[in-house]
Amino acid sequence: MTYLKSREALLFGAIIFLMSLVATRFPGFIAPDNLVAVFTDTSPLMILAIGQMVVILTRCIDLSVAANLALTGMVCAMINVAMPDLPIGVILAVSLVMGAFLGAINGILVWKLNIPPIVVTLGTMTIFRGIIFLLTEGKWINAHEMSAHFTAFPRASILGMPILGWFGIVVALVAVIAMARTTLGRSIYAVGGNPHAAVYTGINVGRTQFYAFVISGMLAGLAGYLWIARYAVAYVDIAGGFELEVVAACVIGGVSIAGGAGTVIGTLLGALFLGVVKNALPVVDISPFWQLAISGAAIIIAVAFNAQSGRSKGRVILKSAEHSQ
């Protein structure tokens, strides 16, 4: 019974309900091909939301993810223009390393200088966008300038699903294991749950937060290459405002903004929920004037659920321990 009441089950139900509602207006929406397309379309959001979840769990927030995505993506595109024959493996490595580096800047500022994370990442968000402008003077990098294998990689299909979608799955699997089975994963929960207690158990709070920012940055960098290659265009404003959607996915997925509580599966479902909304609205012929209001209302309703269900047990890390009391 507790599983049925859980955040994840509720969300899963909401997604199924939403999809069946859309199917009454447009049956093609629940065709397997289309569901795969929706999942693929949501992958970048899932990848970023998992990174964001890790950061939020440690009582921080990373507002620079979309700017990191844009900057790393732009650098990947520029490398591709300069060296068109570079293998994709190298580009992927560059995106991961560069994203992690940008995340590390956030982490260092939070850890060593004790600046509030929202201030740090608000600053770096603007700085990263500014750097893109400095690098390109605002010019676009367009489809015909990128090499064919660079743009083809994320949409190449394995078992009927584009590689972009597989990236979402792989990142999620790694995250599930890492959060549950590694020392870092558990210390991230501990730091967010109760920083003072964490210090007494020998966990370095600042360093854990630093690692969280590095993970978030690394995933943002990865999403940067995938995004640029998928839409085959790179410009300063790419993914503008996307950081808010990423935070929304986490909150809908049940990640507590106060830190310490939240799951990878919940975050994934939160991202999927937003992905279904975003992909459904264009096909069911709802007036565009209503679209923003509907997305916003969906977020508020989900958050209201979150506040209700998570009120008393927001800080409980080990649910089994709670029941044994």
Partner: protein, 329 residues
């Protein structure tokens, strides 16, 4: 020795001040929405062409680093301080620049707007790249030209509140009767974001399986729609057209996702704006309704009741000329 040194520096200083004044008798500032945009770089090239043709004119190409009215006001204030002879501005806001530009006009500076206009109080004349009616007609014509037997078309616009896009779509609907068999089945909005435009274009192809063309009168939208059509494997079935930049659309023309699209030629636009500013600044022409003003190789424009004029029909780009223009803007 000291005296000689002093004299030399005075001479150098005098030379510095005298130099520019002697070489150029008129300075025209081309103020753009933001620096670093290919479109405006090309306009600056056109302005330089006009300056070379007229002779004795120095072009000051400037603008803020992002598309804000505040940034433009700062730039214009500094131009007033430099006492330029004319300002030709593509405005980020219709009304916000008016007080500053009024101040400029009070100091005897000729002010014209081009591309994106300012309210009538804030300028002497405005040069539209084209007229809304010409653009509205052109975007539907581009789709209809490739659909001799008629068909379904859909519009992918920017935001619901973009004035330009909405006016063009209205004008397009007015002339729909001239294109028999062409039906507009839907209008959607991509908010000038690559991902949302892509998703909306995909949605259009799903909800209208018989769709023949997507018209996107916005540069982000047209690129994203072309990519969505290519990814859906519908090249040849769905033609993407509308308004875009050659450098951004070259890939789509090459892949066949777009057969043709249009945009005013920014070189011509910068050229014409400079010519107009020069004509008014030298008092060779007066800005008043009905005035016919020569803009060099682009012919003659006639100012309407609001002292605005249209330069020309939008210029069509397709496989035959894309390679030449994609390098320019």
């Amino acid at each position: 020795m000291k005296v000689a040194k002093y004299m030399t520096s005075v001479a150098i200083a005098a030379g510095l001040f005298a130099g520019p004044a002697a070489a150029e008798d008129m300075r025209i500032a081309l103020v753009v929405k933001a620096l670093g945009i290919g479109f405006f770089e090309a306009a600056a090239e056109g302005a330089q062409e006009a300056a070379d043709e007229i002779g004795g004119v120095e072009i000051i190409y400037t603008g803020p680093t992002d598309t804000t009215a505040e940034g433009q006001i700062e730039v214009i204030n500094s131009l007033i301080a430099q006492k330029v002879d004319a300002i030709a501005v593509s405005a980020n806001d219709t009304d916000a620049l008016v007080p500053t530009l009024k101040k400029a006009m009070q100091r005897g500076i000729t002010v014209v707007s081009w591309d994106s206009g300012v309210a009538q109080d804030g300028r002497q004349a405005h040069l539209n790249p084209s007229s809304n009616a010409l653009i509205g007609n052109m975007i539907i014509k581009l789709a209809a030209d490739h659909l001799p037997d008629g068909g379904e078309v859909a519009v992918l616009s920017a935001t619901t509140t973009s004035t330009n896009q909405n006016i063009w779509i209205d004008e397009m609907n007015k002339v729909m009767g001239n294109y028999e068999g062409i039906e507009v089945v839907s209008t959607v909005y991509g908010d000038d974001l690559a991902d949302k435009s892509y998703r909306e274009a995909t949605g259009l192809m799903q909800s209208h399986p018989e769709l023949d063309a997507i018209i996107a009168p916005t540069s982000v939208g047209i690129v994203a729609a072309a990519q969505a059509v290519a990814d859906a494997g519908k090249i040849g079935e769905v033609n993407v057209t509308g308004l875009g930049l050659p450098s951004e659309m070259a890939g789509a023309i090459e892949s066949g996702a777009s057969k043709s699209f249009a945009i005013w030629n920014p070189i011509d636009l910068g050229y014409s704006a400079t010519m107009l500013a020069h004509q008014l600044a030298t008092e060779a022409a007066t800005a008043e309704p009905g005035a016919e003003i020569s803009i060099g190789r682009m012919g003659t424009i006639t100012l309407d009741d609001t002292n605005a004029a249209a330069m020309a029909d939008p210029f069509v780009y397709d496989a035959s000329n894309i390679d030449a223009f994609k390098e320019i803007f």
